[in-house]
Amino acid sequence: MKSKHIKRVDLIFEKIECIDVLKKIVNMDPDAICQEILDSDLKGRGGAGFPTGLKWRFTAKEKDPVKYIVCNADEGEPGTFKDREILDQVPGKVFCGMAIAARAVGAKKGFVYLRGEYKFLVPKLNEELIKFHRTMDEFNQNFHIKIRLGSGAYICGEESALFESIEGKRGEPRNKPPYPTTSGLFGKPTLINNVETLVHTVMIMNYGAPHFRELGTKDSRGSKVFSISGDTPKAGIFELELGMTVDQFVNDFGDGDTKAVQVGGASGFCVPRKRFDETIIGFEGVPTGGSMKLFNSSRSMYNVLHNYLDFFTEESCGQCSPCRIGCQQLLKGVEAVKRGEKNSKYLDELVKLAKTMKRASKCGLGQSVGNAFGSIVENFKEEIIY
């Protein structure tokens, strides 16, 4: 049984000499780097949780002489703001992570796809990039990073839509397969990782995989940076050990009146008070890209749901029918129920629709709209209807 308090960690923001890590990895066998990451059990910190080492190895195995490293810094999930802080505080570590990845998979070019709203970071990042490229030259490493800005579309955080955007096209997700590791940016094998994931790889290469594995649980190793917001006296960014229950989390961060926690932002799940105890925050329970939003009893869950659906109705790329039309139907549907134009049974139809969206949508956006919808409707039905 875990202690009452959640363990605070300081890995991501820890100031280290990246140059030492780089010195170490330039002499390492690329496969050994992949193996070290694989041994750490690190899973992607963007939210989907794909084993990072596996992704690296897949990309490394591709024979194409041209490969790309992409850092996904299009942090668009509502309630997530940790990547901004990471890029602001330790940009060098992000680039260092990309360099490690480049060494591991054999890439010569990297892109940071930066959320349009984070434009203010660009001068700082460029300054840091000059230093980084100088270091790369010193180590005789042929790896160059460019920054690309998004334009405010949430969908461009989806990896294949992000590639389309970098390529100068409309940001629409692609069919998968092929996956990015075989055919990504400009049709070349591409390794795409979240900002935080890349920083973790730096720390793994710095302290070794066992050090990383000391924290967390079997399915969720290590620590994670959380963006905590909503009805909490301690809103902000915290790096915490993975594997806590929502109950532990609420004890630490709640205001004493928490009725629900939205884990993972608009595309995540809503955990009601009665399930705080049994719900683990992590890949074995409810995964999150970092967003933790607390709601106390003064909040209408109808409004919460309406806000999310409004967001998705706006931010669906519109390409595939289940997502484009499904989002509108869910939004207009709950409005109709609220107004009494449709009876409460209509919610059951909408839950079925959300299931179809989960199964039949083209990309992760449409597939995850049902998460918030299903969990809020299931647990707060009265608030939706009355």
Binding site: A153, I155, R170, E172, N175, P177, F312, T313, E314, E315, S316, C317, G318, Q319, C320, S321, P322, R324, I325, G326, C327, Q328, Q329, K332, G333, A336, E349, K352, L353, T356, K358, R359, A360, S361, K362, Q367
Partner: protein, 593 residues
């Protein structure tokens, strides 16, 4: 080879096959909407989702490649419920005013909703709350967003087949729509009016501007003399729209039907196709003479054809610097129109103001062409109304003419006699072949050195074709051409036209004469032809065109007796004064934005 099971049945297919194709091997049809044989995979309508055992989500059969040991269910409970939901969703966003729709009975969404017996109206009607207006500004294409299901077939057609990019996806989420530059009307953008988007639109969102009522009004007006001309490609397409197999030649029945509809004179665009060869062939030889004998540095070579109005609008927007290279000949349709109200009127002793000139075309761009200000040299609008092959079929149905039972009839005269060379204008490479048959003979006095007059190198579905003919033993007046290797290039589909012109620009392609048809396969694949279209259907129509050519007694334009007659009685000589006045024109540069 990859082996997999679909609905419990084993099948072996080559690697890279999609689930959709693999299912066809077992005679399972998976419904589709955004998929089209001519276009790249989109995977965005999601109607084709199937269950892959072991996969978390359903997969789009059109996009998913097969893999070894894969187990697929195409009609499981999960699939059925998702598919029905998706059709319901599409309908909830769609202006399902089916009985009043121009595409009623020919709509893929309607077929699907019929198949799935959708009628529960599970979802809210989203269509009525959106603010849609119909774009009726183009004389060729009508765009109604309220019927659009955002499958993006039109966008892919405009981009990949035509390289025009007039249509594109705009906005996101609930506001996403298929739009144009700055939301301008189709009449104000770089649209070439080719209508390939119409051919591929599964619903009534993109249709031709129809002029059926105007034509009926003219026919039923006793004071009007209505002449009709039929383009070469119509005779190999019309049957499809009336229940016959693709590739059926229905020339005689079509003429019989047109007479039953009440047209006063049923004539043939093939006649002016032959005339085009005389004018254009002479123009080419004149340009060659200027270049080779007079050493005129300003002569514009290579010369390009000008029959395809889609190509004309494309070059006006995209390669305006090559406008001097375009033949000054009007298209056969417009030559016909100009002559109908002059030569024909005189011959029949009619007042041209009483003549209504109608053309039946495989083309939507012809509607735009007829409206051009350049096309009024008879003193009137040379061609009053242009109908597509599809519209003609509708007229035939409206009039209750039992097409299939009709006995073959013959075109009226004058302007109804043609040669095989005129017929092959309907296929890509046809104008080139017809021109070579005549030009070579004018210059050498002998037939083109190809067996049976069939110039095979310019035929076929390759995007850009090149061929050459060595000219030897010329007649005395053409002796400057002795030893010249006349080089030509042929492109069909505007994306190929662009490639060809880029090649000309860079100097990679060095030819004397270029034929461009805006549509894939040439006019037989035109935007006014029956729907559906795909390479197989276009191949069958092509075979029919060449069979028609072989069946003709005369196969060279200059041997057409009516052509000989018109020069004797009316025009004088090719490129003569009268020709210039009626049959030639110039086009102008247009901005891209």
């Amino acid at each position: 080879m990859v082996s997999l099971s679909i609905n419990g049945m084993l099948v072996k297919v080559p690697e890279g096959t999609t689930i959709l194709e693999a299912a066809k091997h077992l005679n399972f049809r998976i419904p589709t909407l955004c998929h089209h044989d001519d276009l790249c995979v989109a995977g965005n309508c999601r109607v084709c989702v199937v269950e892959q055992l072991g996969a978390k989500a359903l997969v789009a059969a059109c996009a998913a490649p097969v893999s070894d040991g894969m187990q697929v269910l195409t009609n499981s409970l999960k699939v059925r419920s998702a598919r029905k939901h998706i059709i319901e969703l599409l309908l909830s966003e769609h202006n399902a005013d089916c009985t009043k729709c121009y595409k009623n009975g020919k709509c893929e969404l309607q077929d699907l909703s019929n198949e799935f017996a959708v009628g529960d109206h599970i979802f809210l009607d989203l269509n009525t709350i959106k603010d849609y207006t119909i774009d009726r500004f183009s004389p060729s294409i009508q765009k109604d967003d309220s019927k659009c299901i955002r499958c993006q077939r039109c966008v892919r057609t405009c981009e990949q087949l035509q390289g025009v990019n007039a249509l594109t996806v705009a906005y996101k989420g609930e506001h996403q729509k298929i739009s144009t530059f700055e939301n301008l009307s189709m009449a104000e953008v770089i649209c070439t009016n080719c209508g390939q988007c119409i051919n591929r639109c599964p619903t009534g969102a993109l249709v031709e501007r129809t002029y059926l009522d105007e034509v009926w009004d003219a026919i039923l007006d006793p004071d009007k003399h209505v002449v009709v001309q039929t383009a070469p490609a119509v005779r190999v397409g019309l049957g499809e729209e009336l229940g016959l197999e693709p590739g059926k030649r229905v020339t005689g029945q079509m003429v019989a039907a047109l007479k039953r509809l009440g047209f006063d004179s049923v004539l043939d665009t093939d006649f002016t196709a032959d005339l085009t060869i005389m004018e254009e062939g002479t123009e080419l030889l004149t340009r060659l003479k200027k270049a080779l004998v007079d050493k005129d540095p300003d002569v514009a070579l290579p010369m390009t054809t000008s029959c395809s109005p889609g190509w004309i609008k494309f070059i006006e927007h995209t390669f305006p610097e090559y406008l001097p290279n375009v033949s000054t000949c009007k298209s056969p349709q417009q030559m016909f129109g100009a002559l109908a109200k002059t030569y024909y009127a005189k011959n029949r002793k009619l007042d041209p103001k009483d003549i209504v000139s109608v053309s039946i075309m495989p083309c939507t761009a012809k509607k735009y062409e007829a409206d051009r200000p350049e096309m009024r040299s008879s003193g009137y609008k040379d061609v009053d109304y242009v109908l597509t092959t599809r519209e003609l079929a509708r007229m035939i149905k409206q009039a209750g003419v039992e097409f299939i039972n009709l006995k073959e009839d013959k075109y009226d005269s004058i302007m109804g006699v043609s040669s095989g060379a005129g017929v092959i204008f309907g296929a890509t490479g046809g104008v080139m072949e017809a021109a070579l048959r005549t030009a070579y003979e004018i210059v050498t006095g002998r037939e083109v050195p190809f067996e049976g007059l069939n110039i095979i190198p310019v035929r076929g579905m390759e995007g850009v074709k090149q061929a050459s003919v060595l000219i030897e033993d010329c007649k005395e007046e053409w002796s400057f051409l002795n030893g010249v290797e006349l080089k030509c290039a042929v492109a069909h589909g505007l994306v190929n036209a662009r490639e060809l012109m880029d090649g000309v620009k860079s100097g990679e392609i060095n030819v004397h004469f270029i034929e461009v048809m805006a549509c894939p396969g040439g006019c037989l694949g035109g935007g006014g032809q029956p729907i559906p279209t795909n390479e197989e259907i276009r191949r069958k129509r092509t075979e029919a065109i060449y069979a028609e050519d072989m069946s003709m007694a005369i196969r060279k334009s200059h041997e057409n007796p009516e052509i000989v007659g018109i020069y004797k009685d009316f025009l004088g000589e090719p490129l003569g004064h009268k020709s210039h006045e009626l049959l030639h024109t110039h086009y102008r540069e247009r901005v891209r934005y």
